[in-house]
């Protein structure tokens, strides 16, 4: 069963949270950010081409124009493939682990899988980001030597930066599944 709700990100942009429950111990939570706007794309392209045309009028060198087209194309490809993240999703499988996926606008997906044995807890933390204080969800990884210690903090949803209400929903869903592993008989 899937449900989708709308929220806002830390900077005010509209984002959507989609929750799917695949089974009793498997849940998928996906946060989708705003798509690439045609407005901003055309604004950026026109600005670059106007500047190139101005340079061409000054220098009478037609290489400037072809260089501007080349730069625009390459810049767009790099932006779509490496910078613009469309959707960030969290797949929690109770007995296996947590999988974090970022899908880029060009279709590329970058995935990290963290095994359940390494996960200590999933918490909401505060951070100072530029001039704001924002909340973010993070996974705490267990330190192998020290059972009470935390070896690494993996922040989630870094590009969409949802606000606290959305984070609370995600946190509750994760905790329901993480609690199951505490009630299950532990075999070391």
């Amino acid at each position: 069963m899937a449900e989708e709700r709308r929220f806002r990100s830390a900077s005010g942009a509209p984002i959507a949270l989609r929750r799917r429950q695949h089974s009793a111990s498997c849940r998928e939570l996906a946060v989708r950010g705003p798509r690439l706007q045609l407005r901003s794309l055309s604004a950026a392209t026109s600005a670059v081409w106007l500047a190139a045309y101005g340079l061409f009028a000054l220098s009478e060198n037609s290489m400037v124009l072809s260089a501007a087209i080349f730069v625009t194309l390459i810049g767009l490809i790099i932006y779509l493939h490496f910078v613009k993240i469309d959707q960030e999703s969290l797949l929690v499988i109770g007995s296996l682990g947590i999988q974090v996926t970022s899908s880029y606008a060009s279709g590329k997906e970058s995935t990290t899988f963290i095994e359940m044995g390494q996960v200590k807890d999933v918490v909401i933390n505060e951070a100072i980001h530029m001039q704001k204080v924002i909340y973010y969800l993070c996974i705490l990884l267990q330190d192998p030597e020290d059972p009470q210690g935390v070896s690494e903090v993996v922040p989630l949803f870094q590009s969409s930066k949802p606000r606290l209400d959305c984070l609370i929903e995600v946190y509750r869903s994760c905790q329901e599944i993480l609690e199951q592993r505490k009630t299950a008989p532990q075999s070391s």
């Binding site: 695949h22 089974s23 111990s25 499988i93 007995s95 990290t112 095994e115 390494q118 192998p144």
Partner: protein, 573 residues
């Protein structure tokens, strides 16, 4: 607890039979390796599994039953399969059944000796057996060297499949008593080219080892150890590069099989690197010798050297006048200027003496580019070093003079203030001087101080020239190191067969149906290109820069000689 069943996707269409694999009780997961078909004799199956266990050290056992019925469910078959559970007693006994072409299988477990008979959830994870078998898991760098019992759960699965290669040798079409289905059931894969190359590589390696041992014997002979020659070899970077390549070739041609993945990848990387290097070198050589470009190069070498010498002469004339409006001490200026001008004159005479032989030397030296592009680049760097030898000499003279002056000044400054450097205690102590000592000291101090700008200017100019040459040589060496250390085979493997280098796994949730177990697909998450380069970089022989920026500036200020690119294994001076 949740029961995880790792099922190979190649067995999805297999006929009914029993499942064999490994049961990992700590993780409550079953890794299925193959399906044994009917008819079989249980005793023979147990015997076969015992043998496999002995050879591969993987605890393979019968885990459950698999029924693939094309028509409706047969009651008798299911009872028969349950009875099998009593013959091969395994706790828990897994029963998977597939009806027709349905994607959704029913999976159940039979627990006879469990204390609380509750219905536990079953997760079915499909994996590509061939890819998991061939893949090599790379743990993150900071956890390298952890204890074995804390090894990640996924690496246990990868390990199990990789070590069970013996199991995959026989399959259902063989004439034995056991008929298995696994990834080889579509046809045993082998490549004729690979097999032929494996056969041919043994005598080739032996021949190469023999030649290399001859070569290294010659290199180590006493004749080459005499002082002028050994000094020359240590200074020329070409010899270092050739020695490095010789070492590489020795590694490739050794007879010992690679023990683990790292050694295998290193050998393959060295082999591909040497091959590409030689190919590029031969390409360069063919380009140089076509249209007699080498002749043109030799013809332009002497005029270029002449031009450099003329520029230096102009520079010195400028320094001897009033450079940048500064007023120099005329006498010292003239002495230094004439000294350096005479040096340039000597250098030009030597170059002109060599000019008839340059073309022939260059022609033969250019032939050695066939040993590799790196050797050609090293030769270029050495030629630059030889052609700018006079700049190096000037730098040394200027630096020594400046250094002496600075030390003299600092010592006389201490005398001026009535102090002395205590060598025993390594500190500055007060000291009472006689009047004539003070008088002479102050006089000398004044002389040195007023001569400082002249010497400093000469030092500055020649240091800048030397730094320019050093930067050019450094860039060439950087390129050589890049070619030496880049793991090309690993990068090509990452590009073409990305499942071989795994950073981890990723799961995809497949279509679900209520009441049926959770279906997941486990795929291999390949290592990033940066990770590949970092893990499989070949070690190089140079480490640079030797000094940090602060100590470099300090040395420049004090006039100590700088050698920014230092090679490993050279004595520190």
């Amino acid at each position: 607890m949740v029961l995880k069943v790792f099922f190979p996707s190649c067995c999805s269409s297999a006929d009914s039979g029993i499942l064999i694999g490994r049961w990992i009780s700590e993780q409550n997961s079953a890794v299925i390796l193959a399906v044994v078909h009917f008819p079989f004799i249980p005793v023979q199956v147990k015997q076969y599994l015992g043998e496999v266990q002995r050879v591969t050290k993987v605890s393979v056992s019968v885990l459950g039953s698999w029924s693939n019925s094309k028509q409706e469910k047969e009651e008798s078959l299911s009872e028969f399969l349950e009875d099998l559970g009593t013959i091969f007693c395994h706790e828990p006994w897994i029963q998977i059944s597939k009806e027709g072409d349905s994607k959704f299988w029913s999976c159940s477990t039979l627990q006879k000796h469990s204390k609380d008979p509750q219905e536990e959830e079953i997760v079915l994870v499909y994996y590509d057996q061939r890819k998991v078998m061939l893949s090599h898991l790379h743990p993150p760098l900071d956890t390298a060297g952890q204890r074995a019992e804390d090894a990640s759960k996924l690496s246990a699965i990868f390990d199990t499949v990789a070590r069970s290669r013996l199991l995959f040798m026989t399959d259902r079409y063989d004439e034995g008593p056991i008929k298995l289905t696994h990834w080889q059931s579509d046809g045993v894969e082998a490549s004729i080219i690979v097999e032929l190359m494996k056969q041919a590589s043994v005598p080739a390696c032996m021949l190469l080892t023999f030649l290399l041992s001859l070569l290294s014997g010659v290199c180590r002979s006493r004749v080459l150890k005499f002082w002028p020659l050994s000094f020359l070899w240590s200074k020329l970077s070409t010899c270092e590069q050739l020695g490095h390549r010789l070492q590489h070739l020795q590694v490739i041609s050794s007879n010992k099989k690679a023990q683990n993945q790292n050694q295998l990848m290193r050998k393959a990387n060295i082999f591909v690197s040497v091959l590409i290097d030689v190919a590029l070198g031969i390409l360069l050589m063919s380009w140089l010798y076509r249209k007699n470009r080498i002749g043109h190069l030799a013809d332009t070498l002497i005029p270029v050297a002449d031009h450099v010498a003329e520029e230096l002469q102009d520079l010195l004339q400028w320094l001897m006048g009033a450079p940048a409006g500064l007023k120099m001490n005329r006498a010292l200026d003239q002495v230094l200027g004439r000294f350096f001008l005479y040096h340039i004159h000597l250098w030009i005479s030597y170059i002109h003496l060599l000019s008839p032989f340059i073309e022939m030397i260059l022609w033969y030296v250019g032939l050695s580019a066939c040993l590799g592009l790196t050797v050609a680049l090293c030769i270029l760097s050495d030629i630059i070093a030889l052609l700018t030898f006079h700049i190096y000499c000037f730098y040394v003279y200027g630096a020594r003079l400046y250094c002496l002056k600075i030390y003299g000044l600092s010592s006389l400054w201490r005398l001026f203030r009535g102090k002395k450097w205590n060598v025993l205690r390594q500190r500055v102590d007060s000291c009472s001087y006689d009047l004539d000592q003070l008088f002479i000291g102050t006089l000398l101090f004044t002389i040195l101080l007023f001569l400082l700008p002249t010497t400093a200017l000469y030092y500055l100019v020649f240091t800048l020239l030397r730094l320019l040459v050093v930067i050019v040589q450094g860039l060439i060496h950087l390129l050589v190191d890049l070619i030496d250390s880049l793991p090309l085979y690993s990068l090509i493997l990452r590009l073409c067969r990305s499942y071989r280098l795994a950073a981890g796994v990723k799961f995809r949730v497949l279509e679900q149906q209520d009441g049926k177990p959770l279906r997941l697909l486990m795929q291999i998450n390949p290592l990033s290109y940066g990770g590949v380069v970092q893990t499989y970089r070949l070690p190089t022989y140079s480490c640079y820069p030797r000094d940090s920026w602060a100590s470099l500036c300090k040395k420049l200020f004090l006039g100590e000689l700088i050698y920014p690119w230092k090679h490993k294994g050279e004595k520190q001076n």
